[in-house]
């Protein structure tokens, strides 16, 4: 693609302004946060403008290291689940009818836009003894007595995977939407069942995007949901409510 250079750079100024606004908007707060991390923590959200590495020093204490290890494990599992469920789902989605696609993309965006607090609340309710799947399992006779499934590692995994899944779908969607349906059909005419075609051709074809998505979800999960909870000194869980 040949990009045309604007003849008069000034001609583009009014549409360049928002770009500058955005840079200020997104780079500056980020920067201030990073800067803040070197300040002395007075507790309760107050900071003193004195350069210190103490916030980082806390990270290498044995307690934090062990919590950190758990976080890496959780992030790894979450990224794994998100890809293993998200990839086939997205593949089905791109081959579905337009209406279905729009519906699911809106659901995914909605989940992204939901306050974490609400998600945490919904999940803790769902996994609680009194009003969630515990009751359902009891009614179905699967368990003798309704029990609570939260808080537990499983509950954390479920909750964080729930949040991470839309990323997996939104990351994979543009890539998978570009494959020609011919590819799967060609492998079928060549002797592969639909399932073999999926695992033999579609998955290996997308090795790179799968790995990239996995790493991105791993990093996001770690950086956005797990580390903040740890740094705030709370247990790794969604027990805020």
């Amino acid at each position: 693609m040949i990009q045309s250079r604007p003849r008069t750079p000034l001609g583009y100024l009014p549409i360049l302004l928002p770009a500058f606004a955005l840079i200020a908007f997104y780079i500056v707060p980020f920067g201030s946060m990073v800067g803040m991390s070197f300040f002395h923590n007075l507790g309760g959200g107050a900071y003193e403008e004195v350069f210190t590495l103490e916030n980082y020093a806390r990270l290498i204490s044995p307690f934090f290291l062990s919590v950190l290890g758990t976080s890496f494990e959780v992030a790894f599992l979450v990224a794994l689940f998100a890809i293993v469920i998200g990839f086939p789902f997205t593949y089905l989605l791109v081959n579905a009818k337009r209406g279905t696609q729009v519906f699911w993309l809106i659901v995914m965006l909605s989940v992204l836009s939901l306050s974490e607090a609400i998600i945490g609340f919904a999940w803790s309710t769902l996994l609680s003894r009194t009003a969630g799947i515990g009751v359902l399992f009891e009614a179905l006779g699967l368990t003798e007595k309704a029990q609570s499934y939260a808080p537990s590692l499983g509950a954390v995994l479920a909750g964080v995977t729930y949040i991470a899944m839309p990323y997996a779908v939104l990351l994979l969607y543009p890539i998978l939407s570009r494959i020609e349906p011919d590819i799967e059909q060609a492998s079928r005419t060549l002797g592969a069942s639909p399932l073999r075609a999926f695992f033999n051709v579609i998955v290996p074809m997308h090795r790179t995007p799968i790995v990239v998505s996995f790493v991105m979800i791993f990093v996001f999960t770690l950086g956005s949901y797990l580390l903040p909870q740890i740094l705030a000194g709370r247990p790794t869980g969604r027990s805020r409510w």
């Binding site: 020609e180 590819i183 005419t189 060549l190 002797g191 592969a192 074809m205």
Partner: protein, 345 residues
């Protein structure tokens, strides 16, 4: 009952009927072209034969066995897709060997077969190349090799040449035909390009609006089109509506003697190369005004407005080195060999 038989196939997409009662027989070893404009149903028919779609009604029979409900991956056909659908993560060799790998053929046997196929499609020694390292024509050959490695009972081609440029397309058409002839594989090619059909096919099936218009060998389709659609779609023709009375056709621009032609309203189909320039108007000429002259090199094309319906100027094609004495605005007199005229309903 050897060969492919398509029996009374209908196909609906929602309420739209894409195929209307299609029946067709392809003998073993024959090369058949499905030819028609886009939307005529030719690709649907090919996909139904391939097992990628189900017919709404009708049967597909191969060598006497009903395969209508056999899934695509159990039909053992080879298909070349319009997009080629090569697997980008595999090498040339692994692409070609894919049908063997799926069937558990051991590695060394696969390697030998791949070599044989690469020789066949004139790509020797390219087995370890990545698909992205190949040119358009080379990819084409890989897709053909992949479709042929299982020695398929049926070789299906869905407009595989349409993405190539004109010169390369002609070369590939000739090559596909030679390959098919040497292997003797029964083949079904879908195309909208009549030159492609005439180059490759033993039998051309002209389709339009979900129906078969004519089934005949290429030159027969060109010389004796069954109706105006076929005449106009295959090559260039002049359709002239008029009336025949006592072996004489009266139409816009003049009259022609057509010995033995049935009396009544008729449309004539006359090919541009069957029209010559006459020095003056006569009993057997059509006359009109020259509206366009173009020197195409191999031929010179003259457009003549004889007052034909829909302002369809007649096209006259003269051999390239023939002197064309006419310019735009001149009056042209055209003579036609009666033997070259096709009288349509």
């Amino acid at each position: 009952m050897s060969g492919l038989i398509v029996e009374n196939v209908d196909k609906f997409y929602g309420t739209v009927q894409a195929l209307k009662d299609i029946s067709l027989t392809v003998d073993n070893g024959q090369f058949v072209c499905l030819l028609g404009p886009s939307g005529c149903g030719k690709t649907s028919l090919l996909r139904i034969v391939a097992g990628l779609e189900d017919p709404s009604a009708g049967r597909i029979v191969l060598d006497g066995a009903d395969i209508t409900t056999t899934p695509a991956h159990k039909r053992d056909f080879g298909m070349v897709f319009q997009s080629l659908a090569l697997f980008p993560h595999l090498t040339v060799g692994d692409n070609i060997a894919y049908p063997l790998a799926i069937r558990g053929v051991p590695k060394d046997k696969r390697r030998a077969e791949v070599e044989r196929l690469l020789d066949l499609v004139h790509l020797p020694g390219k087995a370890d190349r990545a698909i992205t390292q190949l040119s358009g024509g080379q990819r084409q050959r890989v897709a053909i090799a992949r479709a042929l490695i299982m020695q398929p009972k049926l070789f299906l081609l869905d407009e595989p040449m349409s993405a190539l440029d004109a010169k390369l397309r002609e070369t590939m058409q000739v090559e596909v035909k030679r390959l098919q002839r040497s292997l003797g594989v029964t083949s079904l090619l879908v195309t909208h390009d009549q030159r492609e059909a005439m180059t490759t096919a033993d039998l051309v099936v002209v389709m339009s609006e979900g129906k078969i218009q004519q089934v005949a060998p290429p030159i027969e389709i060109y010389r004796n089109p069954a109706n105006a659609f076929v005449a106009d779609f295959i090559g260039i023709t002049n359709l002239i509506a008029g009336r025949i009375d006592g072996g004489r056709f009266e139409g816009p621009g003049g009259a022609l003697t057509l010995p033995g032609a049935k009396t009544g309203n008729a449309t004539l189909s006359i090919r541009p190369e069957d029209i010559a320039l006459a020095p003056q108007a006569g009993a057997d000429t059509l006359s009109g005004t020259v509206t366009f002259v173009r020197h195409l090199g191999a031929t010179t094309e003259i457009s003549v407005d004889t007052g034909n319906s829909d302002h369809k100027d007649l096209t006259v094609s003269l051999p390239g080195r023939t002197h064309c004495p006419l310019a735009i605005g001149d009056t042209a007199h055209l003579s036609v060999d009666p033997a070259a005229v096709v009288v349509l309903g």
